[in-house]
Amino acid sequence: MLEDLFSVVRTRFNSDPSDDQDAQKRKKTDIPKGLIFKCPRCANNTFMDDLAANSKVCPKCGYHSRLTAAERLDITVDKGSFEEFDADMMSKNPIDFPDYEEKQQALREKTGLKDAVVCGRAKLRGEDIVIIVMDSNYMMASMGSVVGEKIARAFEYATLNRLPVIAFTASGGARMQEGIVSLMQMAKTSGAVGRHSAAGLLYITVMTDPTTGGVTASFASLGDIIIAEPKVLIGFAGRRVIEGTIRQRLPDDFQSAEFMLENGFVDMIVERKKLRRTLAHLLKLHKPYNGGAAQ
């Protein structure tokens, strides 16, 4: 306490007022692009550094902005516990879609990801889990062959090893570039969820921004417990498609996490900073009960 005070005094002594003015001037004039985050829900501008310090949550409206898979794993699982599955799996071009391979190659270089989902096993506050994290930086985390296969394998692994699954969903829907093959991934993943569920195992979905289309209409909506981050977009059809059908502008909270809670499709909305704690509690609550018998 006392030392803290001293350090404040010391910095005051050390600071040179001219330096300070320079710093302020810099702040006002040179703001390179990419340093400001504009909130898609409330349009407020925040410095990236401030946003990062707040777990990428908009300080004004509480919108939970998108995390990379690596950032999500970092704040969710126990340090050093993550073992990735199928890290090198890459999709082919099942319907020979023009430029699909080139587009993917460019994205792989840009994001360091091989496709839009990262799966593996890990520990969360000591509990063994299988974790699935979708990353919207890769083709808006659309679901094609690789996403479907990795998710199905993760559930099959969890079924075989009797582990709970936690899936952080985010997706623009099915991957158009893989045509019907991507539609079939909805059946593949939902089938694998069904077998995991039939084995009496826990599956928790955490819906993050944006969970839409074919992912909402398959494994994302099938969790035993469905959690959503505040204000995120959750829905089946695209907003513009619906606005086109009804020829009216939809209210801002349409297809939000809150809208889904109100309509009965989400169990709870949990803030990012409380998520790890909540998941740990739920995992503990679902551990096999020994009937109260003495150990």
Binding site: A87, M90, M176, V181, A237
Partner: protein, 275 residues
Amino acid sequence: MTASQKMEIVRTKGRPTVRDYIPMIFEDFFEMHGDRLYGDDGAIMGGVAYFEGIPVTVIGQVKGRTLEENQQCNFGMPHPEGYRKALRLAKQAEKFRRPVICLVDTSGAFCGVEAEKRGQGEAIARSIMEFMELKTPVISIILGEGGSGGALAMCVCDELAMLENATYSVISPRGFASILWKNPARESEAADIMHITAEDLKALNVCDYIIEESEGGAHTDPEQTAENISEYISSALKRNLQKGLDEMLNARYNKFRAIGEFDEGVEKTGVPSDS
């Protein structure tokens, strides 16, 4: 014939719909209504009937021909209660050990405010998962349009057949053109690159059988087409009724499990061994 030409045939006025086919293919059809949760969706009809003396459950997606009919069936675009009705009837079929015949014909699940409020995504997801585990044979036939998740919800089956001019796609060609090229008018062009015809889908192992239509399309001779459909259902039931339950469910799971094209990278990592 190109996909866009087939789409023209499917859209021909007078192409037979589920309402035309049911009396031509089945006997003693008793229609059932409602999902027991919210309401009765006119875009999906279902009930019990005989097929060659075997009791079956028939579930079909309904399209209309007149404006009035189309208002009743919402132009063949189901709401969540439609999928929940289909699932209710499928579970009823499971209870009484009747095979399920799904007749699919939709441009897609309805996109609207009420559909979102009542959980269109959840309704389709649950339908997919439950049909995958349904302990009775499921045969699906796409009659015209097989539009996206709205069709898939009734295409999780032991065998998928398509009429020769039918299409099945991840999104309507119109939607595809509008998303990828921001121009819905390039619909035909989109159809031709999307691999949506019965032949395309057979090559991709999505469709198992192609059912011939009468010369020029099903509208030229609905009865002949209905006869071809009956012949197919007859053989499909023979193939599937003799399977054991585990064999049937594993084959159904693996049918979908096997679809997808990927490389495992240079080193095959796979999942860590059991621990």
